[in-house]
C-alpha cells in the first residue's frame, strides 16, 4: 500500500468529473466585479470641498410629478458617515433605499446605479444602465432633477465635475457643477470601451477605424488620441491614495485580506504580499480591522477623502451576496462596521469603467 496519499490524490482528481463553466458568464461576472469595485477616487486635495447637503431634499422634478420615482427622505436617517463634511459622502443602496452621507433617500423602484461626484449624487433607476426605461436623476443636496432617460454607459469622473453617458449613438457630456449638458458628440461607429471623463477631456473608443477619441471639453475639439497620451493624462489626473510596493508606486491598492486583524493586500491582488503605502505620507498602511473579519476579502468601493475609504466584504461568488460594509480611517488606523449582513448592496461605481 505504498504511495497511498499520492495515488489517492490522483485517483480522486481523475474521478472529479467535468465542470460546467460558461465563458460568457465568467466575463459578465468579471465585468460586474469591476464595476462594483471601481473606486470613486477623490483626486488631489479635496478637503476644501464642502458638501452642502441641505436640511432636506426638496422635490423638484423636471417631468410629470406623478411619475417621479423619488419619495421624500426618511425621517430617521442613519448616522453612517464618520467624520466631517469636506469629502464625497459614504454612499450605498439597498433595494429602494439609498444612503447618502447621513441622509436616506427612498426611491420608488430599485436603483440601478449610483454616481457620486464632489457636490452631489446621480441615481440611475432601472435594472441596469441598459434598461431603456431607466432615468438618471441628479441630486445636489437641495434638489433633484431628472436629467436623462433611456441611456447607458453612465460614468462619473474620478476627478472634475463631468458625468457622461451614451444616449443612442451620442456621447453626452454633462457638467454637474454647471448642471447642464455641455456637449453631445455623435459616434462614428460603435462604442467599444467605456467612456472615461477626466477634468477637461473625455476619452472613448470607437469601432470605426479602431479609434481612440479624445474630446476636449474646453475647445470642443474631437481628435484621435494614442494609448500613451491617454495613459499619461490618466496618471496626471488620478492619483492613487493607497499604493502597492513602494511609496512612489502608481499601482493602487484596492483589494485586501484581513490577516491578524490587519488590512493586508489580498492574496489575489496585484503585487500580493507586497506592502501597502499611503501615497500622501509615504508611510506603510497600518489599519486594524475587527476580529470577526479575520480571513475575509475586503474591497474598496469608495474613497471618501484622502484619509477615509469604504470597504465591502465581497466573496465575488456568483449568487452570493456581498457582506458587511466598513469605513476605515488611515490616520487612526481603525475600521468600523457601518452596515451588516449579506445583502445585494448597490455601491457607487462606473458601469463598465475599466482603466
Amino acid at each position: 500500500m505504498t504511495g497511498m496519499l499520492r495515488d489517492l490524490l490522483n485517483e480522486r482528481a481523475d474521478a472529479a468529473g467535468s465542470h460546467d463553466l460558461d465563458l460568457h458568464d465568467l466575463i459578465s461576472q468579471g465585468e460586474r466585479c469591476i464595476r462594483r469595485r471601481r473606486r470613486i477616487a477623490v483626486g488631489g486635495t479635496v478637503a476644501a470641498v464642502v458638501l452642502t447637503v441641505g436640511a432636506s431634499f426638496a422635490l423638484v422634478q423636471s417631468g410629470d410629478p406623478e411619475s417621479s420615482p423619488v419619495l421624500p427622505p426618511s425621517t430617521n436617517p442613519p448616522s453612517s458617515v464618520d467624520g466631517p463634511d469636506g469629502s464625497r459622502p459614504l454612499t450605498y443602496g439597498l433595494g429602494s433605499t439609498i444612503h447618502y452621507g447621513d441622509r436616506t433617500i427612498e426611491v420608488a423602484e430599485d436603483a440601478g446605479g449610483l454616481y457620486v461626484f464632489d457636490d452631489g449624487l446621480a441615481i440611475l433607476t432601472g435594472r441596469d444602465d441598459a434598461d431603456r426605461d431607466n432615468r438618471l436623476y441628479l441630486m445636489d443636496g437641495s434638489e433633484q432633477v431628472e436629467i436623462a432617460r433611456g441611456i447607458e454607459r453612465v460614468t462619473v469622473g474620478e476627478v472634475g465635475t463631468l458625468l457622461v453617458w451614451l444616449d443612442g449613438d451620442e456621447v453626452v457630456i454633462y457638467d454637474t457643477q454647471e448642471r447642464r449638458e455641455i456637449a453631445r458628440v455623435p459616434l462614428n461607429g460603435r462604442l467599444l470601451n467605456p467612456i472615461t471623463p477626466l477634468e477637461d477631456a473625455v476619452y472613448w473608443h470607437e469601432s470605426t477605424g479602431d479609434e481612440l477619441v479624445r474630446y476636449d471639453v474646453q475647445t470642443g475639439i474631437r481628435a484621435p488620441a494614442s494609448e500613451a497620451e491617454y495613459r499619461a493624462e490618466m496618471r496626471t489626473a488620478v492619483r492613487p491614495i493607497l499604493v502597492v510596493g513602494t511609496a512612489d508606486s502608481v499601482t493602487p491598492a484596492e483589494d485586501f485580506t484581513v490577516i491578524d486583524s490587519r488590512l493586508e493586500l489580498g492574496p489575489d491582488a496585484p503585487g500580493a504580499s507586497s506592502p501597502v503605502f499611503v501615497a500622501a505620507t509615504g508611510e506603510r498602511l497600518r489599519v486594524s480591522v475587527p476580529d470577526r473579519y479575520e480571513g475575509e476579502s475586503l474591497g474598496v468601493f469608495q474613497w471618501l477623502d484622502d484619509d477615509r475609504f469604504a470597504l465591502v466584504a465581497d466573496s465575488g461568488v456568483k449568487n452570493v451576496p456581498m457582506g458587511d460594509l466598513l469605513t476605515c480611517r488611515i490616520s487612526t488606523g481603525q475600521c468600523r462596521t457601518i452596515a451588516t449582513g449579506e445583502r445585494e448592496w448597490l455601491l457607487p461605481g462606473n458601469n463598465g469603467a475599466i482603466h
Partner: protein
C-alpha cells in the same frame, strides 16, 4: 485600447478553455465537493478576469488562477463554516492488514478533508501538483517555513488518524517528506 482588450479576452478565453479541467481538479481536491469546486473555480476565474489587465505576465495566468483557487479556498472555508464537514472521530479502519485498501482510502480521503485548510492545501500542492516547497509557498502566499510546518502537521495528523501502519508514501516519497 480596444485591440488590447480583444487580445486580452482572447487570451483569457484560451486560458479557460485549455486549463480549466486541470484547475478544476485542484479545486476539487481542495474542497472535496464537486459543486463547491465548480463554484471555487468560477470564482477564481472571475478574479483572474478582473486582474487580467494588471497581470504583469499573462503567461503566468494559470499560476495566478491556481494561486487564487488555493488562497480563496482557504479563506472561503473559514467564512463558510457550514460547508465544513469535520470528521471528529476517525473511522474504525484498524491496521492496514485488517481492512481492505478501498476502505482505507476512503478514510484517508475523509481525514484529508478534516484537516485545517492550510494543511490540506500544502499537501495537495506538494503531493498532487508536485510543487517544490518554494513553489508551494508562492502559491499559498506564505513562507517556506510555513509550508514545511503545515505539511508536517497535516501528515502527522493523517498518520495519527489513519494509523501508523498505513504507509502514506513510497520510499521515494518519504525522502521528500518532512
Amino acid at each position: 485600447m480596444a485591440q488590447e482588450d480583444r487580445t486580452d479576452v482572447a487570451a483569457y478565453s484560451d486560458l479557460v478553455t485549455a486549463r480549466s479541467p486541470s484547475l478544476f481538479r485542484t479545486a476539487y481536491l481542495m474542497l472535496g465537493d464537486h459543486q463547491l469546486a465548480q463554484d471555487l473555480l468560477q470564482e477564481a476565474l472571475v478574479k483572474t478576469y478582473v486582474a487580467w489587465p494588471r497581470l504583469r505576465d499573462v503567461t503566468k495566468a494559470e499560476a495566478y488562477t491556481r494561486r487564487t483557487i488555493v488562497t480563496t479556498a482557504i479563506s472561503w472555508r473559514r467564512r463558510r463554516s457550514f460547508h465544513e464537514r469535520p470528521v471528529d472521530e476517525p473511522p474504525d479502519v484498524g491496521v492496514a492488514d485488517r481492512v481492505d485498501e478501498l476502505a482505507t482510502r476512503d478514510a484517508l480521503w475523509a481525514q484529508l478533508h478534516a484537516l485545517a485548510p492550510r494543511q490540506r492545501a500544502a499537501i495537495v500542492l506538494r503531493y498532487y501538483l508536485d510543487l517544490s516547497e518554494a513553489q508551494t509557498a508562492e502559491t499559498m502566499g506564505c513562507s517556506v517555513g510555513a509550508v514545511k510546518s503545515q505539511t508536517s502537521a497535516g501528515l502527522s495528523r493523517l498518520r495519527d488518524r489513519i494509523g501508523p501502519e498505513v504507509a502514506l508514501f513510497t520510499t521515494t516519497d518519504q525522502r521528500m517528506t518532512p
